[in-house]
Structure formats: C-alpha cells, structure tokens
C-alpha cells in the first residue's frame, strides 16, 4: 500500500516543507440509527515522519481528521539528499509507508 501516500517536498529558506496526501477513508465511529449498533469506523491512529531514519514528528489522529488526510510540516536544516519517510497505522491494523529523497 505504499502508493497510498504521496509526498512532496519543497526547499525553502531554512529547511524543507513536506506536504503529504494519504489515501484513506477515515470514517468515524457512529451509531447506526436502524440497528442501534455502534459502527466502529476506520481511521488512521498513528502517523510518523522520519528524517534519515529518525522520528521528527509523531501524531495521534482521531476520526476528526478528514478523509484522504493532508499533512504538512517543515523540517529545519534539512536539504538535498535527506530522506523523508512517512508511515501510518490505522485502527484495523493496516499500515503503509513511503519515502522521498529531497532533490
């Protein structure tokens, strides 16, 4: 599922801006009005960003993050040749990761 993440990097003054799009339904847990049952929802719970193998950002998400999540952040003092890796784990145990090298 590595194609579920698209990462774009832009070199800016003082670092690199990372923008990522993840394909994921991100459905919220909800009460089914007909069945009176909780439908659990399907959403990403953890997202991690690494710079050259070291974690620089780790996030916990709820279903309050919109479908097909967009995440952007800026890494200081990063530049050409640095490897940025993004990975996620959802509440169904699925996971994916993807990486780019800053050019």
């Amino acid at each position: 599922m590595s194609d579920s993440i698209r990462i774009k990097t832009t070199k800016v003054d003082g670092g690199v801006v990372v923008r990522a799009l993840i394909n994921h339904p991100m459905t919220a847990p909800r009460m089914d009005p007909q069945l009176s049952l909780m439908v659990p929802g399907h959403f990403i719970e953890e997202v991690t960003a690494q710079l050259n193998g070291e974690t620089v950002l780790s996030g916990d998400w709820s279903a309050g993050v919109a479908r097909d999540p967009y995440l952007s952040f800026k890494i200081r003092q990063a530049g050409k040749g640095d490897v940025i890796r993004l990975s996620w784990v959802d509440n169904a145990g699925n996971s994916a990761s993807s990486q780019v090298t800053v050019s």
Binding site: G15, M31, A63
Partner: protein, 159 residues
Amino acid sequence: MSITRRTFVRAAVTGAAVSTSFAAGVLTPRGVRAALPPKTFTSGAPADAIRMVLGTDQSVLDAAVELDVAGMAEMADMVPLSVRTTLQNVESITIVADKNPNPIIAHYRVDSRLEPYVATRVRLAQSCQVQALVKAGGTVHRAAKDVEVGIGGCGDSER
C-alpha cells in the same frame, strides 16, 4: 525450490528492509510504543480529553500561537487548518474541536528539528470553537477560533 539469483536478491532486500524498519521504530509492536490510551479519542468532555493527552486542562491564551482556519467552513468534513507558533522548545501541538464526538482531532509530538508548524484538514461535527494547544516548556499555550460550518460533517453522530 532452487534459489535463483532473483529470489535471493529479493529475499535479502526484504529482510534488510524489515530489520531496518524495526531498528528505526517504524514497525515497533503497538504495545511497546508509549501510545495514548485509546479512551482519549472516545472521551466526550473536551476538558477530560485534553487532560488525558496533555496532563492538564489549564492553558493560557497566547498570541504566539497562530491558528489559521476559516471562520466559515463551507464543507464541514474538510476544513483546512494550520497551526504555527513562535514559541521555543515546543513539545507537542494538539488540535481540539469542542463539539466533536471525539474532541481531540490530532495530537502531534514534535522534535526540535521540526519547525513548530503543522497543517491538516479536519472534520467538524457542527459549528464550534476550534483550539490549538501548544505545549512548550511545560506550559500549554492556546489559540482559539469559532468556526461556523455549512453542510456535511458528522452531525448525526450526536444522536
């Protein structure tokens, strides 16, 4: 089965990738990771949820925290939002919508190599106050903004 060069190379590469991922913490077993209690994201009261994530529900309104979100959101299930701050030694950035069924939308732990800035798109259940909480040097700094929503969202989860 004979081992062709291709299968050998593939196995070696996969093995190496898996072990480096483990070393790098990507594939850390879920139990090992110091995760938030899952209750955090199912709790109803914003103050309780915030306390569970940040250890306190006390925060100071601070102009150094900048929450950028439109005051009127056309589509409640895709509201672009960003948080940035000029504060130093930022430990975490948390986004809270007080009327969402799970008030904590996202909680980011940031490293010192990261500029204290995150942008995400969020889903709002209904018009409410959105807060950005930045924990820096042991205190929680806050920015808040009222967001009016149009159509969409997950409003029927209120039932």
